[in-house]
Symmetry: C2
Subunit: 204 residues, 2 copies
C-alpha cells in the first residue's frame, strides 16, 4: 500500500494534484443544472456534487465551487432561486461534458452543447428535454464554506419529470434502467450496474 | 414521461417517499467513516454523501444528517476532529452495509461488522484495514443547514493510504481498478465501469 501525506500532495504539479484530489471522493451522479437569467437566457452547467439532505421536505444540496469558477450559475441561483437538475444518460455524455466549458455569459450552453430547453408549466427554469430524469428545485438557503469560499445551495424539490422505467415498485429510482451516468473527478465518465440490494440494516 | 409534484410526494407513504427522494440524487461512492471516542472506542459508520470541495488545500465535505440519526459520529467529530474515510470494495459490501445499523454507543461497529481497525503513526482515528483507499481527515469547519439541521463537515485531508493499482499515471484515482462501490439511496449497491474519458472541455 502506498502512503501519501499532505506535504507530498502540496508539492505535486498543479494538474496532477487536481486530478488526484478531484477523484478521491469517487463516483458521483452527473447532472446538468439549468437556469434562466434576467434576460431570459437559458444557461446550463455540469455538476456532480449533488447530495441528499432530507426526504420530508425533500431537500437536495448542490455544492458550488468558489465564485470565479461558476460565477453565472451562482449569481443566477441567488437572484432567481429556481433551477433544474437533469440526469445524464450514456448517449448524452459528450454534450453534457461540453457544458463544463467556460462559455461567455451571453452564450447559451443549450445551443452550444446541443441540448433542447424544455419548460414545465409550473417552474421558471429550463429543463434538458433529452434527460430521462428532470428535477425542479428552488433554493431556500445558502450554507457557506469559509475555508475556500465554496457554497452549498440548499434546495427544495418542487417537481420531478421522469421516464416511467426509472421508477421501481417500492419508490426507488433505478438509474441503470435509463443508463444514467456518473463521473469520477472531472473527466472520467462511468456507467453503473446493480450489484446487491440489501434491506435496511438492523443490529444483530 | 411521468410528472410528480411536491404535494404528491408529501402525500406518499413514508417509506415510499424516503426510497424515492433518497435515490433521486443518484449514485454516490460509499465510504466507511472511522472515529475514536474519548474512551478509545473505535466507531464506524456508512456514509455516501462525500463531496469534493477543493484541491489546494485538499478539502472534502461530509454531510451529516440531523443529530438524532448520526449522533455518535457527529459528537465525536466535533470533539476529536480526526476521522477517516475508507472506500468500500465489492467484497466488503455486506460488512459495510451492516455498519449502517444503529449499534449502541458502547459497541464498536468494527467488531460487530467484522472490519479490522488499522492505525497509521500520524493519525488519531482508526482506518478500515481491508479498504483499498483510506483517507485521513481533520475537521476544520462546520457549515450548518438550518432547513433541517443537517451539517456539512468541512475537512482537510492529512494523509492517504491506497493500493498502487488505484493510481493512474496522471494522478487520477481509478476506482474500478479495485472494484470500489457506490450506493443509490440506502440499499442499492452498484459497481461502476469506465465509459469515456474526455479531456477538460473548452469553448468550441
Amino acid at each position: 500500500m502506498k502512503t501519501v501525506d499532505l506535504d507530498e500532495i502540496m508539492a505535486w504539479e498543479r494538474e496532477y494534484r487536481r486530478a488526484f484530489v478531484n477523484t478521491l471522493s469517487g463516483i458521483k451522479a452527473a447532472f446538468l443544472l439549468g437556469t434562466q437569467d434576467i434576460n431570459d437566457r437559458n444557461n446550463l452547467g455540469l455538476f456532480a456534487s449533488i447530495v441528499h439532505l432530507g426526504a420530508a421536505p425533500p431537500l437536495l444540496g448542490v455544492v458550488l465551487r468558489p465564485p470565479d469558477a461558476q460565477q453565472d450559475t451562482r449569481r443566477i441561483i441567488q437572484i432567481n432561486t429556481h433551477f433544474t437538475l437533469n440526469a445524464v444518460s450514456v448517449d448524452q455524455i459528450e454534450s453534457a461534458h461540453q457544458c463544463s466549458a467556460r462559455y461567455p455569459s451571453d452564450q447559451s450552453e443549450f445551443d452550444a452543447c446541443k441540448c433542447t430547453p424544455w419548460f414545465s408549466t409550473h417552474h421558471l427554469a429550463p429543463y434538458v428535454g433529452e434527460s430521462p430524469l428532470k428535477i425542479g428545485l428552488k433554493a431556500i438557503e445558502f450554507a457557506d464554506v469559509k475555508a475556500n469560499n465554496s457554497r452549498i445551495v440548499v434546495a427544495a424539490i418542487t417537481e420531478i419529470h421522469l421516464e416511467e422505467k426509472l421508477l421501481g415498485i417500492d419508490g426507488q429510482i433505478l438509474p441503470a434502467a435509463a443508463q444514467l451516468c456518473g463521473v469520477v473527478g472531472l473527466n472520467a465518465w462511468h456507467t453503473h450496474h446493480p450489484a446487491k440490494n440489501i434491506p435496511f440494516a438492523r443490529v444483530i
